[in-house]
Symmetry: C5
Subunit: 82 residues, 5 copies
């Protein structure tokens, strides 16, 4: 998984039908200069939260066949080292 920080939200009224109800979060990846990722929210993360992002097939809730390739799957509350 990848570490990142929630920096915003993304809305898409017109989307694949199976994406209805998904919340899309904008995540700044930690530790490199890449562009922000758009991730489905699976934990109720909020602005400024440091999170775990899961990529690929595993990002889909219970393997549901929806077009999601990245999801926020945890909110980091401690790291060692910090």
């Amino acid at each position: 998984m990848q570490l990142g920080v929630i920096i915003g939200t993304v809305g898409a009224t017109k989307k694949v039908e199976s994406l209805a109800g998904q919340t899309f979060l904008l995540v700044a990846p930690e530790g490199h200069q890449g562009p922000a990722l758009v991730c489905a929210d699976r934990v109720g993360a909020g602005l400024g939260d440091r999170v775990l992002v899961c990529h690929g097939s595993a990002a889909r809730p219970d393997g549901a066949p929806i077009p999601v390739d990245a999801a926020v799957v945890g909110i980091v509350d401690h790291m060692d080292p910090d």
Copy 2:
């Protein structure tokens, strides 16, 4: 998912049979200098639309076994921050 902008279309008369009927869009990825992506269109996106691109297995409609690894799955209409 990845943010991008529709910059054109791609046609391939000779292709794997299961790709018949697919529309291929050229998408410029946002926030980095990479080459344009070719994505299957799943939402009726048009030139200049800012879109969500899904990569990998999840890009295939309903898990159909067609050789597609990227799809436009939503049209972005608001972002916060913009």
Copy 3:
């Protein structure tokens, strides 16, 4: 999918048995400086053809469990813009 140009072929007499009969094409990716890719040919592409490359699980013909992670799945005949 990714755009590329066919620049050669690759032969491997000793290979995983399920790869017997596959043609391996050398593809120069368009728009960046990366190394050439080795792709299974699924459309009869030839030297100099501009092609669509599909990566990942979707590259396998009909989901067959063969060790292929990239395939040429279409020959580009028009692009707009060119």
Copy 4:
């Protein structure tokens, strides 16, 4: 698989329910400057261990549908050349 070294641990009290009980390790990838990875521990690795990291669908224990995309799957004890 990728070589890396265990440099810490990550805790996430709030996470997708199916991740309960997983230990998340912070792994510095070997040989490049990328950011640390967060990996599920499948071998009981400890700080300073040089490990094998598996990415993607194969990182999930026995294909369980949990949102994990990277796992520590072995502890390296010899390399030739070292």
Copy 5:
């Protein structure tokens, strides 16, 4: 698939049980400066062999649910152009 050259072997006594019996090869990727990959050997490749590396789900033998994300699946014996 990716071209590479076998430069060594990796041993991991402590590993996920389903990896027992796998040979792990160290492969230097061709054409870029990335770190060496650790690949499961599926063809009996040896030091100095130029090989084809398959990544992702397709690298697993017959789809077996083992944590392998890269495998040597062929030994290159001719290329055109060389």
